[in-house]
Every structure is written in C-alpha cells, then in structure tokens.
C-alpha cells in the first residue's frame, strides 16, 4: 500500500504490467457496472424492488470514480491539460451530476434532478480510452468534415423548403401544424426513417413526399461516397504476411509475386 507517486502514476496511466492492467480492468468493470445499474434503475418494476440497492451501488460507483478523478489530477504532471482535455471533462461530468442532484434534491425541480442523475450514462465515453483503433474512424470523419458540412447544409436546405411546402399543402388538419413540425417530418422522410406518426393525406402531399423520398434515396449515396473514398485513401499498406522483403537490400514492401526487388533490382526468389 506504500507505492511511490511515480509507481502509482505508472499504474494509472500506462497498461504494460500486471498492476496497471489490473487497474484498467477494474475501471472497465466499474464503468460497465455503473451503466448497467443506471439502466436497470430506470425500469419502474425493478426500481420498486431494488431501488435501495441501486442507490447504494450508485453512491459506491460515484465515490470510486471521484477517487479516480482526484488520483488522475494529482498524479499527472500537466494538471490543467488533463482537466481541460476531452477525457478530463468526461471524467468530471461522470461524477458531477450525482453530487449536483444532492444539492438540488430539496427543490421542486424533480425532473431536472432525475435528468441530471441520468447523465452519468456518459461514463460510457470513458471507454474510448481503451479503443486505439477508434482513431481510424475519427480521422476519416475529420478529413471528410468539409464535405460533410456541405452535405448537411444541402440536406437542411431540402428539409426547410420541403417542410414549408408540406405545411402549406397539407396544413394543420393532417398533422403538419407548423414549419418546424414540417421540417421534422421532412427529416424523418429524407433519412428514410419513416415513423408514420405524420403522413401526407392529399394527392399533392403524397406527390411531394414521393419526391423527397427519391431524393433521400439518391442523397444517401453522397456520405457513403465521401467516407468510402476517404477510407480508401487512408488505407495502410497490406499486412505483414502478404509482403516479402528483399534478401539483398531489405526493402520490405515487395508483392509476393515480385521476382526482382523494386528498389535494388536483385533477384528475390
């Protein structure tokens, strides 16, 4: 129990020996456990039966995550950088709602309190730390950001104009009570979700709806095209097994079928 601060920092921030791997595993289990308790607590029948147990578990989880937060703040050499980083904010937000809910518990704002306490499900974002591969997706999306913006702007333009037209054509008597509702319907339709809570009833409305559906069907190709070509560009060279190295100069990106080294020209088989 008398670990040096440096050793403790290693355990918390790295994951290359038994102690640090155990720390990561325990944290993973705590995150999953805490989320499962939050989910079960929301089911009315379970809350009636096990409400007290859930409450106790939640307090325990919050205490442990608070401990983890202060450990990280204390152990890191760049405190402010951690506190203001993405995971620093997530770590804080994962404990704050529970404490806040205690302070406002005596007011009438019961629904706000409930909302605040439920925000602890964002603890799932803490898992991102253990996903090295997530960078691939994040970078692909970032590189496509400009095109995705244009895409979203186009979608919103169609949604605004179509939502307005449907409000005019169908009107409140068929559920299109305002332009925002019309726009909500246009998004539901353009994204091919189609809840069916609001549907066009007039012939002209159905014609406009058909148009927007065909547009949505064609437009879905655009983000796909953007991400696919971005991913194709970003592909790393093939994996180790599918390559061979030159026995002469060591150049290691030869295709298995190459008979001469592409770099030094010596025979490779």
């Amino acid at each position: 129990m008398f670990l040096s601060k440096k050793r403790l920092a290693h355990i918390v921030f790295e994951s290359d020996d038994r102690a640090s791997k155990t720390f990561d595993l325990v944290l993973l289990l705590l995150i999953f456990g805490s989320i499962i308790v939050a989910i079960l607590d929301s089911v009315a029948e379970l809350k009636i039966k096990y409400g007290d147990l859930f409450f106790f578990l939640e307090l325990a989880f919050t205490f442990l995550f608070t401990l983890e937060y202060f450990l990280r703040v204390w152990l890191t050499s760049k405190t402010w950088k951690y506190v203001s980083s993405f995971y620093g904010i997530v770590d804080l937000l994962a404990i704050l709602p529970v404490y806040l809910s205690f302070f406002i518990a005596n007011t009438h704002l019961l629904s706000v309190v409930r909302a605040l306490r439920l925000l602890r499900v964002i603890r799932i974002l803490k898992l991102g730390r253990y996903l090295a591969e997530a960078d691939f997706l994040r970078e692909s999306l970032k590189a496509s950001a400009a095109k995705i913006q244009i895409f979203l702007f186009s979608v919103l333009t169609i949604v605004l104009i179509m939502g307005t037209l449907m409000f005019v054509v169908e009107g409140p008597e068929h559920g299109f009570t305002s332009i925002p509702v019309g726009m909500y319907w246009a998004i539901v339709t353009l994204t091919t979700v189609g809840f069916g809570d609001i549907t066009p009833a007039t012939a002209l409305g159905q014609l406009l709806a058909s148009l927007i559906m065909l547009m949505g069907y064609a437009i879905i190709a655009v983000p796909t095209g953007i991400v696919t070509s971005e991913m194709a560009k970003r592909r790393k060279p093939e994996s180790f097994e599918s390559h061979k190295s030159c026995t002469h100069c060591g150049f290691d990106a030869l295709d298995p079928g190459d008979h001469f080294c592409r770099k030094c020209g010596s025979r490779t088989d």
Copy 2:
C-alpha cells in the same frame, strides 16, 4: 456615405477587405434572421403572441432584400446576365412573394396568399453564394446525371408495375384505393421509408411487399456505386505531407517510393 459606384460594387460583389466582408456578414445574418422569423411565425402559439412583431420584422427584411436586389442590378456591369442567373432569380423570388401577397390580400384566396408568403424560405438558397465547396458535389452529380436518369427510370418502372400489382392484389379495402396510391406506397417501400400508413394485409400482398423491399435493399447500392466511383475519379492528388519534392528541380508531387524524379530524372534518394 459618399462611396463611388466602383467602390460600392467592390463591397457588394467581392469579399476581400473589411467593408466587403462586413457586407457579406450582415447579409448572412439577415438571411438567417428572416428564415427564423418565417419558421417561428408558422407556430400557432407564437403567432398569437408575437404576430405583429413577426409581421414588422418580415417587412423590414423584405425592404432590405429589395434594396440589395436593386443594388446588385444597378451595380453589375452585366445587368441581364445577373437577372437571369440562378442567384438573380433566387434573389427576386425571395422578395416577390411578400409583395404579391399584398396585392391579393383582399381576395378570398387566403391559402394561396399564405403559401406565397411562406415561399420566402427559399432565401436559404442565397446562402449557396458562400459555399465554394458546393461545386464539388454539384459536379459529381452532374457527371453522374446520365446514370442517375437510368436509375430513376428503373425505379419508376418497378414502382409503376408494383403499384399496379398491389392495387390489384390488395384493393381499395386495404387502403390501395388507386394506382397512384399504389405507386406512392411502392415508393415509400422501395426507398425503405416505410411510413406504415398503408400496409399489405393479404398473404400475397405481403409476399409482393417482401419482394419490393429486398429489391429496394439491393437497388440502393446502385446510386451509391455511381457516386462513389464518380468521386474516386475526381479526387485531387494526395495532400502535401504524403509526398516528397525533387531536390534537383523542386517538383513536389513525387510518391514517397519514387527513386527518380518523374520530371527531371535526377536521383531523389
């Protein structure tokens, strides 16, 4: 206030100094403000409370956009080209409905008037001026136009035949009251929107519906394939970092693996 006509034209049409950038920004805010007022005005509860304010704001916006339109007409050297251009027409359509609604205000055509006034939401298209990147999407779509036509024709063929079959099989008693309604349902289904306002009730109808759904699922691949391959073709060469420059002639589009400059032939590594 005593700007030369040339200076004024610069402010309106360019965006490279403070004055012209301010003009663009003010216009952007006016467009957003005007659209938000139109949207809020459509919500019944808000109209009752703030109807007069919205009406006044709408008049102010319309006056300013009218000013902008006449400024552009006056300042441009090619008046007719501007008036008949895409943005010239959009600029005009953005102010016309409001004026028209005044002239027809005394008639019984109240719904037409309402429709006309709401058409001012097309002001959102004025934003297109500020989206240089939009060209990329527009060109990709234009280049794929021929294939998209074929695609739409195939879709409409399936829709016509399936809509007719469902009208025959299910009939008016299950909501398929005519071929146009059957076609509307076929579009809703083929595009995977699936409102659920009309659904097949007979076994044969459900079998046909299953067929059209699987077709829709397979067909969605076609526009995606078209746009993706079009975009891949249109890609600019890779970004700066993944290239190296020739140390001899400075040519900077060499692949990292190139051993001789493609331009001058001198050794690069």
Copy 3:
C-alpha cells in the same frame, strides 16, 4: 402511302432519318399516353366522370399497339427470333390482356378481368428499347449475380431464423401469427423499411428486433460493396481530354503530367 416493305422496315426498326425518328416519337407518346390513361382509370372519381373516354382511348391504344406488333412480325426477317425475344413478349403482353378481358367479360371472374386489363402497364417496359445506357446497369448486375445470390441466401437465412424466433417469442397475441408473418416482419425490419404494422411488445422481442436491425444496418454495406467494386472495375479509361499521346511512337495512354513516354522513353513535351 405506297412505301416499299424495305423502306417500312427501316422506319420501324431504325431511327436515323426523319420518318423513322417520327415513328419512334409517336410510339413513345402512345406508350406514355396509354400508361397515363391506365393510371387515371384506376382513380374511382375519375372513372365515374370519364370512364367512357378512358375505355375508348384504351381501345384506340390497343388497336395501334396491335398494328405495331403485326407490323414488326411482318417486317422482320427473323420472325420467330422477334416473337420469342424479350421485347417481342413484352409487345404481345401489352395487347393480350385487353383482348382476353373481352372474352372473359361474361363470366363472374370480374376481379381477374380487372387484373388482366391492368397488366397493360407493363407497356412501360417497351421504353427500354430507347435506353442504350441501360446496358451498363444490366451488365454490372449480371457480373455481380453470383455474389448477389449468396447475399440473398444469407438474408433469407437470417429472415427464416429471426422470423421463427419472433413467432416463438412474441406469439400470435402481438401480431406474429405464423412463421410466414414472422418472416415478413423480419424482411420489413432487416431492410430498414419498418412499417410498424407489427412490432415487438415484449422485452426479449425488442432485444431480438434490435439485433436484427443492427444486422440489417451492417449488411446493407454488402450489396453496396459488391456493386461499387463491380462498377469501378468496369470503368472505361478516362476521357480523351485527360490523356496525351507520345509524339514519337503514338502511344496514347500518357498522363498529362508525364514528361517522358512510358513506352519508348522519348521526351513528350
């Protein structure tokens, strides 16, 4: 009116001079007109008002298409090949239902008669003759046929197993009255159509439904991948403008940026 048989065949089968182009145009208009009449005739209100007109028009269209059919049979040098070809069968099916409906008119099979007469909408397939580009799509689909079969088989396996599970889990009381209905629901869900006419009500059913939805979401990538890679393979080399030829040996697939011919090594600029 006294055209040679050879001249008439040219007008009917070719489209390279005024007379043959006019013939094609008239036929196009007849096809569109005949389909529009069939569609309008299915709308109850219009049938009551204009039923007689629609009936007369339909007779006229059928007479003209019959004339066209016999013209083609008479004029072609390979009669049997035409009659048994795709368009030969479509041309026949486009007229047959109307005649058949006369013969069975006196029986009680009114709904069958109605169905038969409506099959004339397949006349839309006659338009395929004028779509040279359609070959591109057809070939892409044909080349992917083997993979699409595997894909469909996988989908149907999931549908059968999921439909059975949902029938067992939810049972008739929640609308899953039999395995075929469960399979219909599984197709509606897997293809992301989601009518909502049948929905899971139990927790286990909703879990299974979530699974099938996520599968559908992931599986949709497969046909897209198949068609996209098939289309990419099938792309013709770039258009004329983006290439240049070697002035020495005439090799014509040089990139515009190449400074030396890839074939003979002589300088190209």
Copy 4:
C-alpha cells in the same frame, strides 16, 4: 445395397459422380421440404386441416436426418472433428429439438416445447455446405471485424446516450417507459427502420430525434466504406481478356502495358 464403407463415404462426402450427386440432391430436397413443412405447420388454418400430415412428415424428416447424422459420424475418419465442427453441431441441432420435445411433451412447458420443435428451421444452415462462394463474404467480414467492432461500439454509445436523453425528455407518458425502451427506440431510429410504435411528441424530443436520424444517415456510410474497401482489396486480378502472356515463359498475369515479363524478364512486345 452392399456398398463398401469406403464407397459409402465417397457418396456422402464427395460430389463428383452420379451416386454422390444424387445423395446431395436428395439431401437438398429433404432440407427444403422439412423447412417448408415447419413453416406451413405454423399457420393456424393449415395446422387444423393438415396437422397430422405435417406431424408425420416431420417424423420422417427427422428420422432421415438422424440416419444422415449417424452415417456421417460412422463414415468419417475423424469422428470428433466432425462432431465438434460447425456443420456437425448444426446437423445435431437439426434433429435434437424434435427428440427433446417428445421427452418434455408431458410437462406443462408447452411453449418451451413449441419453441424447441421450431428450432429445426436452423436446418437451413445445412445448405451452407453447398455454397462455395460464401467464403468470399465470410472472409471480407472477418477481415473487417476489428473495424466493425469499433463501429458497433460507437453505435451503442450513441444509442445509450440518446436513449437516456429521450427517456428524460419525453418520459413514460409518451411511451419512453425506461432507458432500455429508449435504447430500443434509438436503435429503431438510428438504423432508419422507424417502426413508429414509439414517437417523440414534444418539440425538444423531435429535435433530438432529428439529430439522431441525421447521425444515422451519415453513419450508415461507415460500414459501407469498410466493406467496400475490404472487398476492393480482396479482388482477384482481372479476367483473362485484359491480360497478356509472356511469349517466353508463358506467365499469364501480365498487364497489357508491361514491356518486360515480370517473371523471367524477357521482352514481351
């Protein structure tokens, strides 16, 4: 009827002569027949009429599949490897439920019995044996497994957070009775299925729903991109026509543009 064990094994495991092909065909028909009987037996009207026939057929099918299973166990040289293989387990699961249902028939667990007996539809998986091409899909999916995991994790993160927010915002009075139900709704919406059994009724809920729908619309591009680029990587070299052979050594995978054989280095044009 007096076949050697070796000959019998050939018939059962190979498919290169008449006897073994006939065995495969009979098995295929038995699988299809057995599945069709299971499906028809689930339709209440048909069960009343033909229940006894279905029961008899099911017994016959089960007897024959049991025979097949023991044949395979007896004939194979590596009994344990077969029994523990994927198809060994499927073969066993295809007969076990029926026998189990006899043993539990006298208990009150009628619904469990019904469930068990219906599990025989997994016999469809036995068809996998006859699909050589299925490997292509399986390998593509396996190679993308890591990325698909990340993708599913991202989806579940969005689903958890959005499901919780909707539970807080809409609450039980609009059908969002718990976080699990909210997550079910989020999956229905994100995957663009959109049953419409639960829909947001408040303005804030509709705004959140719009967000999740647009996210789902954009995210669908990710699995498509993954599979497409994986498939493109995995493509076999182009077909015969687009290649040329070396006139010296006969190596036949040269690109039409190659001037020297990649294998033996002799000039090819």
